[in-house]
């Protein structure tokens, strides 16, 4: 069996999500290849080659691959697909955008966001906002799969020494054009990968008030997240959203501040190792899944919490 992993990268480096996908591939078993499609992406390819367990890296470098347009990438994946039994990609917005297009071109089903592998043809995936886990089996000749990062540990990023093979890019298509990107710049850890996250909800009241969370995030080395309500209200940009249709994360520590705990938000964080909830409404559903709940006014609690953290510093 041979498995092709579509790398998530920004041409300069491999994204962490790729490592979780490598682990999922290892659970399936077989020879692992990584496909890097990009522009001036040699560095990303070299990082992929160092990942433990990868047998080969295949690189397609072309100007029209720079911005990962699905119309351009899909034909190349389809061209190499018959060499593989499984095609995997991380369930990031890039992977979710690309893989169904690949699956349909191959006339096969896609299994979205697997969280576990039972065998080479049987996978577990969340449905109904993660309230149900479905075990599904695919009879298709090639399995097209997206992998939810929180379901698998990251593979070691060092230890491998795979050969890197250049492959011919597929032809450029002309029905879509990349115009621009606006990415959130932050010195904080990336939300999907952070070990600690502090998230704000509607209760924060304003964009300005998110500074209270940022200050605590800095003390904890944490990322800042948000509920849908906070994003809709314009307090933070969309990429902060944690939830069923935002980011699904599972940090060691998740602190939910002023978040009521709707089903859809829980879907994005209920696998966190330790959950803390701070909310003035003691009936808020978030308290049902919190390991530690503090009923109180967040504007009083946050400064006290920050102060208590300061007291922790070693003398």
């Amino acid at each position: 069996m041979a498995i092709l992993i579509i790398a998530e990268h920004d041409n300069q480096s491999l994204k962490g999500a790729t490592l979780n996908t490598v682990t999922a591939a290892n659970c399936i078993g077989g020879e692992l290849h990584v496909l890097v499609m990009g522009h001036h992406c040699q560095k990303a390819a070299e990082q992929a080659a160092r990942v433990a367990g990868v047998a080969k890296v295949r690189v397609a470098d072309a100007e029209h691959y720079e911005h990962a347009l699905a119309e351009n990438l899909a034909p190349l994946v389809v061209r190499v697909a018959d060499e593989y039994t499984h095609l995997l990609a991380p369930a990031t917005t890039a992977g979710k955008n690309l893989m169904p297009r690949v699956a349909a071109l191959l006339d096969v089903a896609q299994v979205s966001e697997i969280v576990a592998v039972e065998s080479a043809d049987t996978f577990v995936r969340p449905i109904y906002a993660g309230n149900v886990l479905a075990t599904v089996r695919s009879g298709d000749r090639v399995k097209v799969i997206t992998v939810r990062g929180t379901g698998f540990e990251a593979a070691a990023s060092q230890g491998g020494a795979a050969p890197i093979e250049s492959i011919q890019p597929a032809a450029r298509t002309n029905t879509s054009r990349f115009v621009s990107r606006q990415l959130t710049e932050s010195a904080r850890p990336e939300l999907s990968a952070a070990r600690r996250v502090i998230s704000g909800g509607r209760g924060m009241g304003s964009a300005e008030n998110f500074k209270l969370l940022e200050a605590i995030a800095d003390k904890l080395g944490a990322a800042v997240g948000a509920s849908r309500a906070a994003v809709d209200a314009g307090y933070v940009p969309n990429d902060y959203q944690v939830g069923q249709t935002g980011k699904v994360i599972a940090p060691e520590l998740y602190i939910a501040v002023g978040i009521s705990g709707a089903i859809q938000h829980l879907a994005g964080m209920k696998e966190s190792k330790v959950i803390v909830a701070i909310n003035k409404d003691e009936e808020a559903p978030i308290f049902q899944i919190a390991d530690y709940g503090l009923v109180g006014d967040l504007f009083q609690v946050l400064p006290e919490f920050s102060h208590a953290l300061d007291q922790l510093k070693p003398a």
Partner: protein, 249 residues
């Protein structure tokens, strides 16, 4: 320009579903069913395109059991001009739905398909992209802004790191995300009007599509429940527990 809006009838977003005790499926008997929230946003966007003079007709389509007619009437109450029901009792998976839509796009000479990015029941997030592939049309997924001028759709997409803007040449497929718009409430007069709008019913066989599922669901289960937690009385106590008990700080 004709716009096709696929709409799915799903368990209402506020319902917490339960798995049947034998693990064979989810218990949806007597559970409230509603239009998939993302598809409702898609209908609203298509109707706005019509109001802006960009779309000439908005056709809603739903695939599944007869009850999907309710979802089509909801779409028509928002402003879709007519509805198509592809009626079947069969389990429909995304690839099959994409093929049904492909057949309708050809039949109705549709130039733009706008649909929700995912259904909140299966959370698959596949139909739009699969349809675009089958039609060899460009796709823009997770749209938070759509502008159509002449033959071009300019779409702002929500991606993991922020926002991205793409330009697509029509015909195209756009899947919509939460923040694209806030759907209007269907007024009572519009609900009444919707009852009179045309609703046709077809079968997958009539469209020449094999809808057999490709994935077999072996079992369903609820994830392990979290242990109940405790309430703490103060921030100081919280920090103490996080450090000394949970050991996460």
């Amino acid at each position: 320009m004709k716009v096709l809006v696929p709409v799915k009838r799903v368990v209402d977003a506020n319902v917490k579903v339960r798995v049947k005790t034998d693990g064979s499926g989810v218990d949806i008997a007597n559970v409230k069913l509603s239009i998939n929230p993302f598809d409702e946003i898609a209908v609203e966007e298509a109707v706005r395109l019509k109001e802006a003079g960009v779309a000439t007709e908005v056709v809603a389509v739903s695939c599944g059991v007869a009850g999907c007619q309710e979802t089509l009437r909801t779409a028509m109450a928002i402003g879709a001009d007519r509805g198509t029901l592809v009626e079947t009792e069969a389990e429909l998976q995304p690839l099959a739905v994409a093929k049904l839509l492909q057949a309708l796009v050809a039949r109705d000479k549709v130039k733009l398909v706008v649909l929700g990015k995912q259904a909140i029941d299966d959370d698959a997030n596949q139909v739009g992209q699969m349809l675009a592939a089958l039609l060899d049309w460009p796709q823009a997924t997770f749209a938070s802004k759509v502008a159509v001028a002449g033959d071009t759709a300019t779409v702002v997409r929500e991606i993991d790191g922020g926002l991205e803007t793409l330009e697509l040449k029509l015909p195209a497929v756009i899947t919509v995300d939460l923040r694209l718009n806030t759907p209007r409430y269907a007024t009572l007069p519009n609900i009444m009007k919707a009852k009179k709008k045309p609703l046709e019913s077809l079968t997958p066989e009539a469209l020449g599509v094999d809808v057999r599922p490709r994935l077999a669901t072996l079992r369903m289960a609820e994830p392990p429940k979290r242990q109940a937690g405790i309430k703490v009385a103060s921030a100081a106590e919280l920090v103490d527990k996080l450090k000394n008990e949970a050991k996460v700080i």
